[in-house]
Symmetry: C2
DNA sequence: CGGGATCCAATTTGATACTG
DNA sequence: CAGTATCAAATTGGATCCCG
């Protein structure tokens, strides 16, 4: 049930999803906020209200949606405590933990590319 | 000029783009077909018609668009030969080559997760 | 507290036809 | 050969209000 494209019209793309593990992976990470959330949860387990405060610029709806798909994709674990008031905690799964070193490298790469892109802008702007 | 979100309305998200190298990287790779193209071009330099044949399921418009943004993002290099008939070749840049080992790991991770997801589906279906 | 539901805007992707 | 242009559909993101 981790397939997000089940009732989609992109039937042709199923070849792609099915055939390309890389695309599969990127689709799990490609949401606008998922990586930020992943990064935050890597530090420590957090409850919903903490995440909400942390990402005050994300609407609640999007936060909820992203958390839900990440849970479905097996990236995070959601624990509900039967208390009053209710408490819900989110933490990374082992799968997400395995991802950390890879994402770290990707982050370094992104940093490098960003600097290059900025340099080029700085050089071409004075013209 | 490698910033794809220049006239976007996601002004708040600029904090995110600016602050998160990881998100920056994922944005460069997040298109529907970019990774497939990257994978193919990793093998060898290819011309437009070859790519078109290779990805017969991608419309020409999307192929062109993705190639263009990938070129702007410094992932691929586009070379036009002033011949008749015209010839255009696409190849990976050094930046993209540096990405290869990282993407390889990510691909392995994706493969693993996909198998797990399929197992779970297989187990829960008989119910 | 931790969301869900509804409605709408922005973005991405696609089909088809056309061009230097 | 290597693309553009136009129009339409699908997907994603956001604002606001509501609920147990």
């Amino acid at each position: 049930m981790a397939n997000r494209k089940q009732n989609s019209t992109y039937s042709r793309n199923e070849k792609c999803i099915t055939g390309c593990d890389l695309t599969y992976a990127i689709y799990m990470l490609g949401g606008r906020w998922k990586l930020l959330i992943l990064d935050k949860l890597a530090e420590r387990k957090m409850r919903y209200s903490e995440l909400k405060k942390e990402f005050s610029y994300i609407t609640e709806r999007m936060l909820t949606l992203q958390l839900k798909t990440m849970e479905q994709d097996g990236l995070i674990k959601r624990t509900v405590y039967a208390e009053v008031p209710p408490r819900v905690e989110y933490e990374l799964t082992d799968a997400a933990r395995e991802l950390e070193p890879i994402l770290s490298q990707l982050s370094d790469w992104g940093n490098k590319q960003r600097k290059i892109a900025q340099q080029e802008t700085a050089v071409s702007s004075p013209m």
